[in-house]
Symmetry: C2
Subunit: 589 residues, 2 copies
Amino acid sequence: MKESLKPTTLTLHQTHQTLADLDSIYTTLTTSLKESSLHVFPEMYLTGYPLKDVILQKSFILAYENLIERINDWSLKVDNSVEWTALIGGIKYELDHDHKIKKIENVVYELKPKQKLTPIYSKRLLPNYDIFDEQKYFTAGEHNCFYQYNDSIFGILICEDMWASNFHKMDPCEIMFQETIKKDLTLSGIINLSASPFNFSKKISRHKRASTISHFFKCPFFYVNLVAGEDEVLFDGQSFCLSGDKIICELKAFQSDQKSISLNEIKTNFNLDVQLNHTNTWEQLFTPRLQYSNSTIRLQSLSDEECQEILNALIFGLQEYAQKSKFKKFLIALSGGMDSALVLAITHLALRPEQEVEAIYMPSAHSSQLSTQLCEKMCKRLNLKLQYLPIKFLHSAIKNTFENTFTENFSGLTDENVQSRLRGMLLYTRSNQTGAMVINTSNKSELAVGYSTQYGDSVGAISLLGDLYKTEVYALSNYINKKFNQLIPEEIISRGPSAELRENQLDQDSLPAYEILDPILEGILSYGLCKTDLIQNGFDTKDVEKVLQLYSRSEYKRAQFCPIIKLKSKSFGFGYRISINKNNQYLNF
Amino acid sequence: MKESLKPTTLTLHQTHQTLADLDSIYTTLTTSLKESSLHVFPEMYLTGYPLKDVILQKSFILAYENLIERINDWSLKVDNSVEWTALIGGIKYELDHDHKIKKIENVVYELKPKQKLTPIYSKRLLPNYDIFDEQKYFTAGEHNCFYQYNDSIFGILICEDMWASNFHKMDPCEIMFQETIKKDLTLSGIINLSASPFNFSKKISRHKRASTISHFFKCPFFYVNLVAGEDEVLFDGQSFCLSGDKIICELKAFQSDQKSISLNEIKTNFNLDVQLNHTNTWEQLFTPRLQYSNSTIRLQSLSDEECQEILNALIFGLQEYAQKSKFKKFLIALSGGMDSALVLAITHLALRPEQEVEAIYMPSAHSSQLSTQLCEKMCKRLNLKLQYLPIKFLHSAIKNTFENTFTENFSGLTDENVQSRLRGMLLYTRSNQTGAMVINTSNKSELAVGYSTQYGDSVGAISLLGDLYKTEVYALSNYINKKFNQLIPEEIISRGPSAELRENQLDQDSLPAYEILDPILEGILSYGLCKTDLIQNGFDTKDVEKVLQLYSRSEYKRAQFCPIIKLKSKSFGFGYRISINKNNQYLNF
C-alpha cells in the first residue's frame, strides 16, 4: 500500500440551527470552510430539520434555490489556496416548470472550492414512525455511496440508514458491505450525517449501534448530529467518532461544537465476528410501544446522570422556544405543589442575564395556608417577589353572575374547574400585559388521565413536565435539591399532592397512588400492554380498569394541549396519534 | 359465449361506522348477508378508518382477532341455503409470538357461507399526504386481483388505487389492464372499496375518474364508500355505480345506504380511445397546494348546491361528534356578529328532538345596543331564550385585582383579550354545569391571521366554520336565509364585522377587506402561491406582506385549536403541518 499523500482529517460541524434560517446557514457554512480537511455537516444542514410542509411551499423552494445559488457563487469566487472539501446535508428538488414538485430527496452534497454543490448520496431509509413523516415528503435513494477523499474511501449514510431493522425491507449497511466485498474496497470510515431527535439515554444506543457497524466494517464511525429545539423536538448534538469499542471523541450536548480528527491517529482492534444484529432494532430502541413484554413492569427510577441529562434538555428546550419566539420574560403560576415548584426551579436555573421570571400565586378559598407559606419560601430562596392575585372575590363574583342569569349556582366539578380557568385567564392577562411566555406546569401522569382543566391549568406556550410522570417529577426535584442547595422547599416535595380545588382534596382520592398509576401508564403508552398483560403483571384489576377508562376518555384534552418538550421515545404530542372519538371497548382485552 | 348460469347482482353496503366499534361491525355484517349477491363493503369496514395508532395497540389487535374469530364461527354455522358472497375491507396483521407486529396490510377479504374470511387483495397505493399516514402503518400489496364470481370476473381496487398520478411510482389500473390483455381477460366490472374523506364537490372528481377508468376497461365501475365523522374528517358515502358516461345508481350522502345492481341491466357504449390520463392527478384534485397557477386568483363563490352540500356536511359532522362523545346539549356564545349567528343557525337546523341548544350573550362595555337587539331577534326567530351573562362587572373586577397586585392597570390588546377569555371561561363553566358541548365560532380567515384570542373566542369542542373563509360564511348565511325563511336577521349579515373588544372597533381596522384577504389566504394555503405570485396576480404588496406576517406569526394559536370539520382538500388541522418556531424570511420570496 502506498503512503497517504496528505494526512487525512475529518472535521465534524455540530451546528446549532433554526428551521429555515437560510441566512445563518449561509454565513455559518461559508465561514467554517477554511482548513484543509473533510468537513462534515449534519443531515439537512442547508434547511434545518424537520421542515414538515414548509418543504412544499413555493416561497421556500425559491428561497432555497437562492441559498444554493449564493453558496455556488461564493464557492466559485473563494480563494482556493487551501483545498477544503465539505459534505453537507441538504435536500434536492426535482421540479417541473413553474416549480411544481416532482420529487424531493434527502441528500448529501459535496462542496469544494471552485465547484458547485454536487449531490453524491440520497438517503435510503426514510423513517415514518412516531414524529417522523419522511415518506410524506421524500423519495428514497437506491444506491450506496463510497466517497473518495484523498486516498481514503468513506461509506456515507444519512441518519436512519444506520438503524435498519427487521421492520425495514433492506439494510443500507448490509448492502454497502456486500458492495465493498464485491469491489474489494477497504473503507477508511463510515460517515453518518444525522438529524437525530433527543431521548434521554439515547446516546448509549447510538454508541452501541455505531460500534457494531464499526466492528462490522472494521473502520471508524463518524457521527454528526445537529443542535436545535424545534417546538417539541430537541436535537442534542452529541456527535462523536468511535472505532470498534473505543470512543475517539465526543462533542458537546445541546451546544454547537466542532472537532477535527486525524485518521492516522485512530488505532483500534476490531472484533472479527461481529454481525449486524437486527434484533437491536429501532422499534426496540426508539419505539418501545411495539414491544410487548411479560416481565414485571416497574418505572425505572431516574439516576443522577439521567436527571442531569433531563434537566439540561428542559433548559435547552425552554430557551430554544423562548429565543425563537423572542420572549425575554417567563411567567409561572405557583400553587404550592410539586409541579409548579419544579417548573419554577428549572426556569430559574435556565435564566440568562437579560431574562426574568415572574411567579404568580392565585389562592382561592380552598388554598391552604401551607401552600401560601411554601410559595413564599420558594420565592425567597430564588430571590423572587411572589405576586399575589387572589381569586376568591372573582370566584364569588362569577358565582353571583351565574345565580343571576341561570337562577342556579354551581358546585362540584364545575366549581373546581372555574377556579382553574379563572387562573388560566388571569395568567394570560398578565402574560399579555408584560409580554411574558407562560410555562405550562402539567405532568405526564395528569395528561394521561385527564386530571387537569382544559383552558385552566393546562394552558401555556410550552410544557416542561408533560413527558415526565409524577414519580419522575419527584425524582427530578430531589436531584435538583441535592445539586442546587435545596432550591425547592423540602415540604413541597414531602406533602401529599392536591389540586386544592375543594376542601381537603388529595389526588389520591380520584387516582391510584402514583407509584401504581405511573407504571400502568408507561405499560399502556410505551410498551403497548393490554389490560390482561397489566393484570398478569400484578396490578389490581380495578386500578387498571380505572386508568384505562380515564386515559381513553381524555383524548379531547390532549388534542388541544400545548407542545411538550419530548424527552422519551413515546410522548404525547405530534408523534402520538389517537382519535378523540372511537369506541373504547377494545381496551377491555 | 355461454349464458350466465345465475343473474349476477352486486350489493353495495354503504355503512355508517364508529371507529373500532367491533360489536356493531359484527352485527351489521352478519345481518346484512342474506341475499344471493356479491355483497361489497367499504375499505377497512372491519375496523373503521382511520385507526391511526390504535392499529398498533395490542388490545386492539386482540379485540380484532376476536372479531375475526366470531365472524368465522358465524360463517361456519350459518345456513347456506342462500349462497351469498361478500367482499369486505379489513386489515391483515402479520404478527410474531406475543403479538409483536411484523407487517400490516390494508386488504379485501372474501367471505362465503361455511368458509372463513380469506384475504384476496392488498391495497397497492398507500396515500401518505395531507391527513393520510398510510405508509406509517401499512405495507403495500404487489399483485392485481381478478376476482371471479359466478362467471364474471371483477378487477378489485382499494380507494387510492384508482387515483394514481405521476407522483406515484406506478398505477394499479395500468398494471391491471396490462394483465387483462396478457391473459385475455374480459372484466365484468371494477370494484373499488373506499374510505374516502369528504371535500365539497369531491363527488364530481370521483365520478370523472371512475368514468375514465370505466371507459378504459370497457366495463362498469362500482364504488363503495363509508359514512362516518371521525373527529375532523367526514366520510360522505355517496357510493355509486357508473358505466362509461352513464351513472347507473347513486347512494345517499351522509347516511348509511344499500343498493343492489343487476349486471345484466347495465348497458353502455364505451369510448374506444380513452386513456388513463395522469394529468388529472390527486395532487390537482385533492392537494392543490402543490399547484402553482399564474392565473388571477378569485375565491370562487359558492353555488346554492355547494352551500347545501356544506350545510349537510356541517350538520352531519356536528352530530357525529355529539353522538360519539355522548352530548345531548349544545352551547354557543352569540356576539351579535355573523359567525356565531351562522353557527347557531346550523346547530338549530341540526337539532334532533332529544337535543337542545343554549345561546349565551355575554356583553361587555363595548358591546353595542345593536348587538343586543340582533341576538334577541335571532333567538326569537329560533324560539330560543337568550341567556344574558354580562361581563362588565367581572371585567372591572379583574382590572381592580390587577391594579391591587401589580399597581398598574391594563389596556389595549390585553384589555381586549381579557374580555374574550372571560367569555371563554364563563362559557365552559356553563358547559360544565349543564353537560353541554361548546361549539366554536371561529372562521378560517380569522384562524389564518390569528385574529382571535387563545383560550378566548377560540375555545370549543369542535369548529364548524374553521374551514370556511369569512366571505364563504356570508355566502352560506345568505343561502340559509333564502332556504330557511330568514333564520338569521338580515342586519347581522349586512353590518360590518367587529370583535367589539374596544370602542368602534372594526375588523377592517386591522385586516385587509375580506374580499381581498380571503383570496390571498387561499392562494397561500391551497395553491402554494408565494409573495411574488400574489403581487403578480394584482394584490397590493402591503396587503400581501401584512397577511403573510400575520399568518406566519399565528401558528402557535392554530397548534392548540380544536378539531375543525374538514370541508376542503387543504384545511387547518391534522393534515396541516407547519412548525410554530421557524425563520419566516423565506416568505419574502
